[in-house]
Symmetry: C2
């Protein structure tokens, strides 16, 4: 058991042992090698090349080799040390595996295996309590059961395909594996990167409050985001949320707020949903932000990881094409509690030097038809320096579609066309990041036209990625951008008196 | 002037003359041939091959030929008849063009030209009134000024690139050209097709009430959708809306509802926005549906042009993967006023015959991990036949991403991979349409995972197109689908006592 506390610093958080596995055994690895959610742990680890700098041990008594790796009959047959175990075996074999893990001296075990307390069956719940107690007595931490487990980019650990190998500053805790997957995939696509993510399911041992405490103390983590279905040990959760939100922006999405959702949550992770009013009040009191939807959650993470988090106030300058688009956008901005302030006369005069009167507007929304990179850049610089501009909304390199896109049988565009669209969008994102830096006014880019064509989609993707990495927030639509900034401003106001987070 | 009434049936609606141009002159066509919004009328007409069965006359005294077409110094130099004129010349030349149009005996003129009443300048407003009066006295109808004009697929007339050549059953009227473009592009991409669309800007002659009357009487039109900024001649508008909504589902989106939006609307189309409360009440009283956002508008059109319009009640069965996704979806469905009813025991028993207990739920939301087309089909058929199922939500052929998609420099996938994703998604949409037909329960598909990869996007696009054309509604997210169905049910209840529309 000495191996279980092999970390070399006494100052480390007690949960740190689960985030640095040097070796992993996958027990019950499917003989096919496994693809897709649930079958994909081996595939996800291989995809991130975990095996190149760590030891990876598939365990399945029916096969000798899988994907070029030696396969073991049981973890007791593995010669080397095993830090972390992923259990994919049926529930009835778990007690035996637990004994083997204790004998082997592993540090942590993740139960993908479902069929315990979440079934509502008292016998299975009792089994769960018993083996968790046994593991804890042996100093072994357990994640789950009924969850997807760990994503640790720096250790090349992932639980689904398509998780980036680079790490970042966002820590994710989630009771749901599918939602954790949607969050990592969705935000990664937008250029956000993660320090660690944990899908913890039933939370029989490692619970939300442990993870919030860890995230608060983890130097790699700057922003914390959580998806919860039910709260276990309410007071501990609330205290941990308060401690975490006091030092890092913390966003919580709560599922199961309506009766139907609560019923689904109960059969999903065995959670009792509780009152959303109490939950909302607890979040507010703790200084955390509550996301109401998955879109909210992802948009708030983007807001908090870009310069958008420093937005000075409610004054939005909207620069875009199309009068009707400007009208609907203004409505959406006002609806989110922000303003579209009129421009000062000197700004109007400066813009009118190169923007003709007919068919345009320069008094915010700025609806111009200027073309060419230089005039567009000049427009953005002038409005960003205008006194009422707290934030500038512009487009994320949109493209109008080609007619052939509407032919469902059309060929995909040539690779060089897509590559060109990408390069050009990346350049455009860099320019906006430069103007943001020079003027000190945050910019927000809107994914107008993403769905118009394959090339437009690729262009918007490339723009979003480059923009995010350079501190410019990108949102799908004006209403979503305005809502995220409105929630941010409301949260910042509410936190007055608490520690400044940025 | 006899040419102006050359239609051969006295029973045609008076506005019908603008929808059947045999010949078009584009006056002030840019010498470059023109690309992009505003410069693109020639390009849009050529894209739809208008010139193959009609006469197309570019007019610009500075050039002799453009894009292979003879270019004329003025419309008076054109030998043949001109039905319709598109004016792209500066405002100060418009009075001369108007005189020439009267002399030439055209039927209709569309003023893309801006700089009249919408500027707020009384002199320009007077000029507009005067030339409109002159045109009307000569029996010529005017569209605009300050707008994009006509989209008539059956006549191969379009005002932007990327408008489909096939026609459909949706009539669009819009004060904004950009929003008309977004609506046509957005809905076309989703597989919806249009009978006609009119961007009418300032509405100096042809106004919303004329277009609503036309749409009500147009046999090609089954659903009517409008984007409005201000209402001209309120009583006439309301009466026309009532007549139209009495015979066809009619959706109205109103821009300029907040102060900032109203100011933008005023500078855009010179519209005075008026009270949104009065507008909302007028829509309700007329039996129309009010969309609150552009997403609403597009989602309602999809709802009304598919079997989703026949949804029997509030009972949603959700079939998808991932417990957390099921929880958030259930919340969103409840939030929209719909239910996620529990399944009857016999449905549960039928499903349990092939769906294992661990990690799944069959008591709605149905969270299964069954794979293979046959078992998925069986699942959908069983739940669609369950008594509480008024509508079934399922996935629009999603794909999990590949890791390389997160490398911004990665190559685009090979064309055959995209083609394969498309074919497979189209097949999957066809299967769902079949089950919908066999069981009589409407299906709704959700674009889960669209943004994961280029191939996923292509797959979802192909699914959506095939589904829509086969009467299956597809929405971006569960919250949007639930909201659209909630609005539909509310509207149908409200219309009780009025004529059944389907």
């Amino acid at each position: 058991m000495t191996e279980a506390v092999s970390t070399d610093s006494a100052s480390l958080h007690p949960l740190d042992q689960i985030f640095h596995p040097r070796s992993i055994a996958i027990v019950g690895v499917p003989s096919g090698g496994g693809k897709g959610m649930g079958g994909g742990f081996l595939g996800s680890l291989l995809e991130l090349k975990f095996q190149e700098n760590h030891d990876l041990y598939p365990v399945n008594p029916k096969i000798d080799e899988i994907d070029g790796l030696r396969c073991y009959p049981s973890i007791l047959d593995i010669e080397g040390h095993v830090d972390h175990v992923i259990s994919m075996i049926p529930a009835r074999f778990v007690p035996t595996l637990v004994d083997q893990c204790i004998e082997k001296g592993v540090r942590s075990i993740h139960f993908f295996t479902a069929g315990f307390s979440e079934t509502g069956d008292e016998e299975m719940a009792k089994t769960e309590r018993e083996f968790i107690q046994k593991l804890n007595d042996a100093g072994i931490r357990a994640i789950g059961p009924n969850c997807m487990g760990l994503y640790i980019p720096d250790e090349r650990v992932a639980f689904m395909n398509g998780f980036p190998a680079e790490s970042g500053e966002v820590f994710l805790l989630s009771q749901s594996g599918a939602n954790a997957g949607d969050i990592v995939h969705g935000l990664s696509k937008r250029g956000v990167r993660f320090s660690k993510a944990v899908s913890f399911g039933n939370g029989a041992d490692v619970k939300a409050h442990h993870l919030l405490d860890y995230a608060a103390s983890d130097p790699q983590t700057k922003v914390v985001v959580g998806y919860m279905e039910g709260v276990q040990e309410g007071r501990k959760f609330f205290e941990a949320l308060k401690r975490c939100a006091a030092v890092k922006p913390t966003i919580i999405l709560k599922g199961g707020i309506h009766a139907a959702g609560a019923r689904a949550a109960n059969s999903h992770t065995g959670s009792l949903a509780g009152s959303i009013r109490i939950f909302e009040a607890a979040c507010r009191q703790a200084g955390a932000m509550r996301a109401q939807t998955m879109d909210d959650l992802q948009d708030l993470v983007v807001t908090l990881t870009t310069e958008a988090r420093r937005v000075k106030g409610t004054g939005v300058v909207l620069v875009s094409g199309g009068g009707g688009y400007a009208v609907l956008s203004s409505d959406a901005i006002a609806n989110a509690g922000l303003d579209v302030p009129q421009m000062p006369q000197e700004t109007i005069d400066e813009l009118r030097e190169f923007i003709p009167v007919a068919g345009t507007s320069v008094n915010n929304p700025i609806d111009t038809n200027v073309s060419g990179v230089e005039l567009q850049r000049k427009t953005l610089e002038i409005v960003a320096r205008a006194e009422p501009a707290d934030v500038v909304f512009t487009n994320a390199g949109s493209t109008r579609p080609d007619a052939k896109e509407f032919d469902p049988n059309h060929d995909s565009p040539p690779a060089d066309q897509i590559a060109h669209a990408r390069t050009s969008a990346e350049h455009s994102a860099t320019v906006i990041a430069e103007i943001q830096r020079e003027t000190g006014t945050p910019f927000v880019a809107i994914e107008r036209g993403r769905s118009y064509s394959v090339a437009a989609g690729a262009s918007v993707d490339a723009f979003a990625h480059t923009a995010q990495q350079n501190g410019v927030a990108v949102y799908a639509t004006v209403p979503r951008a305005a809502r995220a900034l409105g929630l941010l401003l409301e949260w910042r106001t509410r936190r007055e008196g608490l520690q400044e987070l940025f």
